[in-house]
């Protein structure tokens, strides 16, 4: 895994938020790093391991164990389909299939131009609004196939405009 992205002191800035650091801060630090980089670059994991005095293997193990962390670059935008039970019985799988058809990528993947990541989430706990889709973290409840197609189209359109 090679990572050409330079972190330009951004990792150090995140780590500085944990002055009394211990291994227990690892998961929180990874969250902050991901908020900064949209994924976890290898260099960031290495700096974190050195800072917390943990084996790199442990840091990498944690970064790849949890579904919430990503070691590959992610899209500018994220479209997340909630696959909770309540959403499932209200038709979430069909929404996801349609999204995959519309975007040409499978859940978990990112478009080659890094404009969009499509993913599923187990449940975001907004079950009364199912089926639910999150676009860049914003909730859109009672989703229909037609609305979803339009939302994603609008999202990517905006990108193309100067």
């Amino acid at each position: 895994m090679s990572d050409i992205q330079t972190t330009d002191g951004r990792v150090a800035a995140v780590l500085a938020g944990y002055p009394q650091h211990g291994p227990g801060d690892l998961v929180n630090i990874l969250h902050d790093l991901q908020a900064e980089f949209r994924h976890l670059p290898e260099e960031a994991l290495q700096e974190t391991a050195a800072y917390l005095e943990l084996p790199r293997a442990q840091v990498y193990g944690v970064a790849t164990f949890y579904h919430g962390f990503h070691t590959e670059p992610r899209g500018e935008h994220t479209c997340t389909v909630c696959m909770g039970t309540a959403c499932h019985v209200r038709g979430a799988p069909r929404l996801l299939e349609q999204l995959e058809r519309d975007t040409g990528i499978a859940a978990g993947d990112t478009t080659p131009d890094l404009s969009l990541t499509v993913e599923e989430v187990s449940c975001v706990g907004a079950c009364a609004l199912g089926p639910l889709v999150l676009i860049d973290g914003e909730y859109h409840g009672h989703m229909t196939g037609e609305r979803l197609s339009r939302l994603v189209e609008d999202l990517l359109d905006k990108e193309e405009r100067p």
């Binding site: 227990g24 998961v27 909770g84 975001v124």
Partner: protein, 617 residues
């Protein structure tokens, strides 16, 4: 000037001032600021109402509050007008001016914004008139709709932290005794008596001990803990502080799912405010109690709801459960005595201390005291959060509070207990919901997810859904769980895709037994419940899939086909335009047909048809 509250008297003064501040307003506009209502634009409605208030210059007499969750999320954004108690649903920004002028200033109720009961068509004015609220008994959720979760003074005004004062007066032993006597059992699913766990932690050897709040609410279809943390974070902190007093802990952690950003935000703010007032930190309220709380975000792993996996995650390791030869109460976080309770359990503690164990025991049943919050969701009319005394029947919850099944469809099953629970059919609807009854029937009450399913839900597909979830959430430590769940998922895939035989079903049962018997933690041992319970109660549906290659609910794609009823179709061409495969043919105003070769069974034609002319067979 220091804002620290030096002693209980200072808290009393602060309360007096907070109560007085709330009383200066004649009227209150309470906009629900829970995640459900926010997702539907509640904060924009809040801003629009605030702008109206500015324009009218009535801010001296009218207070505005973005409160915690009111529970009736499906009808959001909800706006509650006090003191009349009028509740408006589905409020839009455009409604703000009218609400302000007509209802608030003119006293006129806007009929169109009142909640309509889908069963009777009646429009109800207040929460209490609505069947959804009428059958509830709100204890833990009693204050969430009344207070601004970001204001510690709101919580104090409503009596907050007086349970802590009472606990400090009683002393650790008496507090422990009160919690034990209340019969409080853990709300996270297992139902272990909280008092006994506290006692073990208190008496365990060690210099440092920890209390942990499990807010890793991972069961899909459940959001009780999310709403408590978002809507009333101080009651959880107060409960934990009382627990720390009883157990002699100095540090606490709240382990929150990363999927709950608003809960993290409100909780973190609440901790800051509590520290400023000296309700967390050294010498709380002038006593010898020292206790502080940190927030730790989860990484998105279901298994971390398991306490030993959570300890690993808190210690910065992969969330893999380990064998608990020694209880966590003796050897938990960093090897020290640790007590873990979930959000709802902690949130009950202040109420028990204030109103007493006898009061708590008077609610619910003998073995399951108190109330329980359920997330009543899926194919049910009134979806949202309900809090009812334990012992209420499934029928009462789903039909009286939930208003039954939408669209005149038939009830098929209710799924409780999350991925560890099971699906119960209609003839089990009169069972009381408590910690023990549903277990005997192959399900469990669990943490409170209650997903209602109608006749268009395929139970084999539901079982496959849970196996897919659990197979992906297995930590991979035990072979039986890691591989067994994948095998089970594939076998159910054979059944839903038309390759299954009766031998497939027999193999499913055999593998399920092995996974149950040989997995280490509860994720594995209970993972087979959804498949075993559906096999137990819906075996006919499995047999239809393997014998007749038919999915009676019309869900499993390989076994169904879409066609158009020529009698009903009026040739509007809507389905033809929307079909992604161009599989629908037909002239305008002529009945359409579907080319089975091209059809991918995406179901869009059925969704868009206004005449129900698309048939699934």
């Amino acid at each position: 000037m220091s804002t620290r509250l030096a002693d209980p008297r200072a808290l009393g003064h602060r309360r007096g001032a907070a109560v007085a501040a709330r009383a200066t307003h004649d009227k209150v506009i309470a906009v629900c600021g829970g995640t459900g209502c926010r997702a539907q634009g509640a904060m924009k409605v809040f801003a629009a109402l605030a702008a109206e208030m500015d324009a009218h210059g009535t801010d001296a007499t009218v207070a505005m509050r973005a409160t915690g969750c009111h529970g009736f999320c499906e009808r959001g954004p909800l706006v509650l007008l006090l003191p009349e108690g009028v509740l408006y649903q589905h409020v839009k920004v455009e409604d703000a001016a009218e609400i302000f002028e007509k209802t608030l200033l003119g006293g006129e109720v806007l009929e169109r914004l009142l909640c309509e009961d889908p069963a009777t068509g009646l429009r109800h004015r207040t929460e209490q008139e609505m069947p959804f609220y009428h059958h509830q008994q709100r204890v833990v959720l009693s204050d969430t709709g009344q207070l601004d979760p970001t204001s510690i003074d709101d919580y104090i005004a409503l009596g907050g932290y007086s349970a802590l004062v009472r606990a400090l007066e009683m002393g650790p032993e008496a507090v422990l005794e009160e919690v034990k006597r209340s019969g409080l059992r853990g709300r996270g699913g297992a139902g272990f008596p909280a008092g006994r766990k506290w006692e073990a932690c208190r008496h365990a050897q060690g210099d440092l001990r920890y209390v942990v709040c499990n807010a890793d609410e991972g069961d899909p279809g459940a959001f009780m803990d999310r709403s408590i943390l978002e809507g009333n974070p101080h009651c959880v902190l107060e409960g934990m502080t009382i627990g720390a007093l009883a157990m002699g802990a100095r540090e606490g952690y709240v382990y929150v799912r990363q999927e709950y950003p608003l809960a993290v935000e409100h909780l973190s703010a609440a901790i800051e405010r509590s520290r400023e007032l000296g309700l967390l930190g050294d010498g709380i309220l002038g006593s010898e109690l020292t206790f502080d709380v940190r927030v730790s975000r989860g990484g998105g792993a279901f298994v971390c709801g398991e306490a030993s996996a959570m300890m690993a995650s808190l210690e910065g390791r992969r969330g893999v459960p380990h064998r608990r030869l020694i209880h966590l109460s003796e050897h938990g976080l960093w090897g020290r005595p640790t007590n873990v309770n979930n959000v709802e359990t902690w949130a009950n503690v202040p109420h028990i201390l204030l109103r007493g164990a006898d009061w708590f025991r008077s609610i619910g049943t003998e073995g399951s005291t108190g109330t329980k919050i359920f997330s009543l969701v899926g194919m049910v009319n009134n979806t949202g959060l309900v809090e009812v005394p334990m012992g209420m029947t499934l029928r009462q919850i789903i039909f009286d509070t939930g208003g039954g099944i939408p669209g005149g469809k038939a009830f098929k099953a209710v799924q409780t207990g999350g991925p560890s629970g099971g699906c119960l059919p209609a003839d089990k609807l009169d069972l009381p919901v408590d910690f023990d009854t549903l277990v005997a029937e192959g399900s469990m009450m669990g943490s409170g997810g209650m997903i209602v399913m109608d006749e268009e839900t395929c139970m084999v597909d539901v079982a496959k859904y849970f196996l897919r979830f659990l197979a992906s959430e297995s930590c991979g430590n035990c072979t039986s769980c890691r591989d067994g769940l994948t095998i089970l998922h594939d076998l159910l895939g054979d059944i839903t895709e038309g390759r299954g035989t009766r031998e497939t079903i027999a193999l499913v049962e055999q593998v399920a037994d092995t996974v149950e018997a040989t997995s280490l933690c509860a994720l594995g041992t209970s993972a087979v419940n959804p498949v075993l319970s559906t096999l137990r109660y819906f075996r006919d549906e499995y047999l239809a899939h393997v014998d007749d290659k038919r999915c009676p609910a019309g869900v499993c794609k390989a076994l169904i086909s879409f066609s158009i009823d020529a009698e009903l179709c009026n040739g509007c061409m809507l389905c033809a335009r929307r079909c992604p495969q161009d599989a629908v043919a037909g002239e305008r105003k002529q009945p359409h047909t579907i080319d089975q070769e091209l059809c991918i069974k995406c179901g869009i034609c059925k969704d868009v048809c206004k005449r129900d002319a698309v048939l699934v067979q």
